[in-house]
Amino acid sequence: MEPISVLIVDDEVEFLETLAKRLRKRKLVVNVVTSGEAALEKLLAAPVDVVVLDVKMPGMSGLDTLREIKKRHALMEVIMLTGHANMEVAIEGMDIGAFDYLMKPVEIDQLLYKIQDARKKKALNEKSDLLGTPGRSS
């Protein structure tokens, strides 16, 4: 199987770099950006399997970014990862179509599993999309 490609979006540079390094060690192809706007730009140029998205960022908010990603790339999976434990925001994110809503600090393996699961779901949806059968999107 192709290595999983992820894009991490977070305005905290230190966190971003540590996480990227640890995921790369686990054989993922990792790109990083520090804002929602940059994420959308990056995805246009080079689509990925899974996006890991912070909720609270200066500029375009996490939820707006999520909405826009889902609009432009319906099958791309997005995992929200945030230090803000906010139920309303979490549910809004899930409603828009996030794959999951994780809270920092997250165990690296747990995040890795989520990324793997998200990619698996994406692959399934792409398959059923191709076959024209109603897909399981949960």
Binding site: N86, D100, Y113
Partner: protein, 840 residues
């Protein structure tokens, strides 16, 4: 949800960020289930959304509620403060204002920067949101905990100090200072003290968690204000609030600014003996210069004890005071040496001591409880009161070395000092000399320090005992040690040299001795598990919140209220979704044309009364038709379970005594829910739902209902097994006994079990693949062999006999590596199953 259930017991400390994170995670998971139901049966269960929103709304409301304090002023002059304004001024300043304005006690002029001011500061530029985020994201794993505590504290404090004070607050503070200048003179220096909401309230001691700054000049007023405000997040304050279940958002930091008193003498007095509730004498500790050194225990102090009747000096101990703290002319304080005979002179006269005692009695009388009072004598020779608060009296009778325990003297490593907190504790020595040592302090170690500084309180939550060379039982650190139940000896000379890092010792605070190694005869570490969370606001909130999450009301799928509007908690919703999901999926073949998605009857040689629904990748290859052969099952947990199910052939029900049989007959004829002719889609059928790593089994044998759900794969931390066993046909007592019977067996195999009425639930999680398979084998075995036990359940002897037989089977067949299913032929197809297993 199990984390929330565990936390409800209040045994381990947790904060609001724990509650918020868990509520958020729970609602995300429940919401995801509801969305899955929408996929499965579009529109059919949309009412669930309303229920979900309403439950979530209730939780949100509980999480966000806080005591609303009106829009009071940003600063308040001391002359307008009394105890009724403690919500605006904090307890410390409210107490001072009270005695100044209602009792006429001499208190320096000043003002308070209010709780509203603090909130304006903290909400400015979303500082609070940022603080919450930092608290939430801080690592919680054991090894990083301390390091992250200190760095978290530093980060938050820096954020607050860096933040710009909002313009209106800034001008309010400067205006209040200007007014003080008019009364006290141009450029008057001030003392700036924390006066947090809840601090000194008598319930919690908050001892020494926050900063105070003495002799601050006008230039640094604003900076000092921010520093004191930031000390809300000192490491010891964070640890204290966490352990005591106090919400961060309930602690607004009011700050008191008072004209600085350049004291010639000062100290602390207690209106009663703090360590002996039966002793009503007044205790006055006194030093030259500022009272600071009495508070932090750094310099030996004179002691005057005054009896009430007759009102006179009962005891007088003059210490050799080699140093004192005085004000620098420009700003700040400094420590100066006291030369020659001066050091041994009394710091105050007897007349002053009597006068002080009189004030102490007046304040005690006014408040109606014992008081802890900080005082000073100014350069004009007048007594001023700087602080007063309720005194926590404890019975702490001084101990003599040795204590009640017989331990050979050769085992003594150090002895002496005074008992600051009772009990005994065992652990390796860890000497903390500087701040950076503190970062490495291991959990369960004995904390050894030179000075009993308040900042070491941050480590007390992890320490098994405390030993310090200096300090007294009246100090801040001693206070916290007692509150946290950590045994402590203070004033033990040369402790940091006598005790070597890493050396295992037993600290016997009651005997004032430190012993080599663990002394078994001492009740070491017994005192610790004090439930500090009990009755705390945070635990209270968790309990309220969990009422909307944990309780299960939807029990019976056949009942009329088994519908979305009957869901009152998140648990109800998950129960409902689970049940309906099963139904929808088993109906799939009927309502839809995709027959490959319908359930298949399991074939082991011949078709059996077991049906299998493949959710995802549970079959080795696609299966057309109505049957699936065991060979084609690829589900790891199902195969493990099946191995247990077929391991030992069932002998049929055990012999029944006639009373047992009658009980079943009577119950069956009187309990309609048990009538097997009642329409139920799952009666007497056993359903597996599987994927490669998942298996859920619902089975009904006669009157018994059981369900097993398991996730088993290479990700050990995601692995789990849940098991529920309920019902039965006999009377309630027999059913309950059977539930306990099954629970007791599962207990022996590391399951967490809970028995309630006639049901037993068990869970197990986090083990690796092989262990999980073994446990599933045990469950499968029990599933088959605990059927129809109700009849013998009132007979203790047969219960015991049966238990030994079951355990013997489990050990000899299930847990023994060499054996496979016995008696080939007893379950048709078991041979091919076995071969399959080996081939994998």
């Amino acid at each position: 949800m199990s984390d929330i259930e565990q936390a409800r017991k209040g045994e381990t400390p947790f904060g609001m960020s724990f509650i918020r994170a868990n509520c958020t995670a729970a609602s995300v998971n429940v919401f995801r289930m509801i969305k899955s139901m929408d996929e499965l049966a579009p529109g059919k269960y949309s009412d669930l959304h309303d229920r979900f929103r309403s439950i979530q709304g209730r939780i949100s409301e509980i999480l966000t509620q806080r005591k609303e304090i009106g829009a009071g002023p940003l600063t308040i002059v001391l002359s307008e403060i009394d105890k009724t304004r403690s919500d605006e001024a904090g307890n410390k300043m409210a107490n001072l204002g009270e005695i100044r304005n209602h009792l006429g006690v001499n208190v320096p002029d000043g003002f308070v920067i209010s709780s509203r001011a603090f909130r304006e500061l903290i909400n400015y530029g979303e500082l609070q949101v940022e603080i919450d985020r930092l608290m939430q994201s801080s690592p919680t794993d054991e090894k990083d905990q301390l390091l992250s505590l200190f760095s978290l504290s530093a980060q938050i404090q820096q954020q607050i100090i860096r933040t710009a004070i909002p313009a209106d607050l800034k001008s309010a503070i400067l205006a209040a200072y200007g007014e003080l200048e008019r009364k006290e003179g141009q450029g008057v220096k001030v003392s700036i003290r924390s006066s947090a909401l809840g601090e000194d309230s008598g319930l919690n001691s908050f001892a020494g968690q926050y900063r105070s700054e003495l002799n601050v000049s006008a230039d640094n007023l604003l900076q000092a204000y921010k520093e004191i405000a930031a000390s809300k997040y000192s490491p010891q304050a964070i640890v204290y609030r966490l352990n005591r279940g106090i919400r961060d958002e309930d602690v607004d930091m009011c700050v008191g600014c008072m004209a600085m008193v350049d004291a010639v003498a000062g100290g602390v007095m207690y209106s009663r003996n703090p360590f002996d509730a039966g002793d009503g004498r007044i205790f006055i500790h006194s030093v030259f210069g500022l009272p600071k050194s009495v508070v932090d225990g750094s310099i030996a102090a004179d002691l005057f004890v005054i009896s009430r009747k007759p009102f006179q000096i009962a005891e007088e101990h003059i210490a050799e005071k080699l140093q004192k703290f005085v004000c620098y002319p420009e700003e700040g304080v400094c420590r100066v040496e006291i030369a020659g005979s001066e050091a041994s002179k009394a710091s105050i006269t007897e007349d002053f001591a009597i006068e002080l005692a009189r004030i102490a009695l007046r304040i005690e009388d006014h408040y109606g409880n014992p008081q802890d009072i900080e005082w000073a004598v100014d350069e004009k020779g007048e007594i001023v009161i700087l602080q007063c608060r309720p005194l926590r009296q404890e019975n702490l009778v001084p101990q003599r070395p040795g204590g009640p325990y017989q331990v050979p003297a050769s085992e003594v490593v150090a002895s002496g000092g005074l008992r600051a907190s009772p009990g005994a504790g065992y652990g390796p020595v860890f000497v903390v000399r500087k701040e950076s040592d503190a970062l490495l302090f291991p959990k369960g170690a004995v904390l050894v320090v030179k000075q009993a500084l308040p900042r070491w309180a941050a480590l007390l939550g992890r320490a098994s005992a405390l030993v310090a060379e200096q300090g007294t039982e009246a100090g801040h650190l001693a206070n916290v040690a007692r509150e946290f139940g950590v045994p402590a000896i203070l004033g033990l000379e040369s402790a940091t040299e006598l005790l070597k890092n890493g050396q295992p010792v037993t600290v016997d605070a009651d005997g004032l001795r430190v012993y080599r190694g663990r002394i078994e005869s001492l009740p070491a570490n017994k005192v610790t598990s004090k439930s500090l969370m009990d009755g705390s606001p945070v635990l209270d909130i968790l309990k309220k919140v969990s009422e909307n999450i944990i309780p299960l009301h939807l029990l019976d799928p056949e009942a009329r209220d088994f519908n979305p509007s009957g869901c009152r908690t998140f648990h109800d919703i998950t129960r409902f979704c689970h049940e309906k999901a099963v139904m929808e999926m088993f109906n799939f073949g009927k309502d839809h044309r995709f027959s490959e998605k319908a359930s298949k009857q399991l074939v082991c040689g011949i078709p059996m009364q077991w049906w299998v629904l493949n959710l995802d990748d549970g079959f080795m290859e696609d299966v057309p038709g109505k049957f699936v052969n065991l060979d084609n099952i690829g589900s790891i947990p199902m195969l493990a379970l099946w191995k247990g199910i077929v391991a030992v052939p069932w002998q049929g029900p055990p012999p029944v005594d006639s009373k047992g049989f009658m009980s079943i007959l009577i119950e069956a004829s009187s309990n309609p829910a048990l009538d097997p002719s009642m329409p139920s889609p799952f009666a007497d059928r056993n359903y597996f739902m599987i994927s490669k790593n998942f298996c859920s089994l619902n089975s009904r044998f006669g009157f018994h209902f059981s369900s097993i759900e398991a996730l088993v794969g290479d990700r050990a931390n995601e692995n789990y097994i849940r098991f529920v066993f309920k019902g039965g046909a006999a009377d309630h007592e027999r059913r309950s006994r059977r539930a306990s019977f099954v629970g007791a067996i599962l207990d022996e195999f590391q399951f967490h079990t809970e028995t309630k009425d006639d049901g037993v639930s068990a869970r197990l999680e986090g083990y690796d693949l092989e262990v999980m398979k073994e446990k599933l084998g045990i469950l499968g075995y029990l599933l088959m062999h605990t059927r129809q036990l109700d009849m013998i359940m009132l007979n203790d002897a047969s219960c015991e006999q049966l238990k030994s037989k079951l355990l013997a089977d489990i050990f000899s067949v299930i847990l023994s590596k060499s054996s496979g299913p016995v008696a080939p032929g007893s379950i048709p197809g078991s041979k091919s199953y076995h071969n399959k297993k080996e081939a994998k």
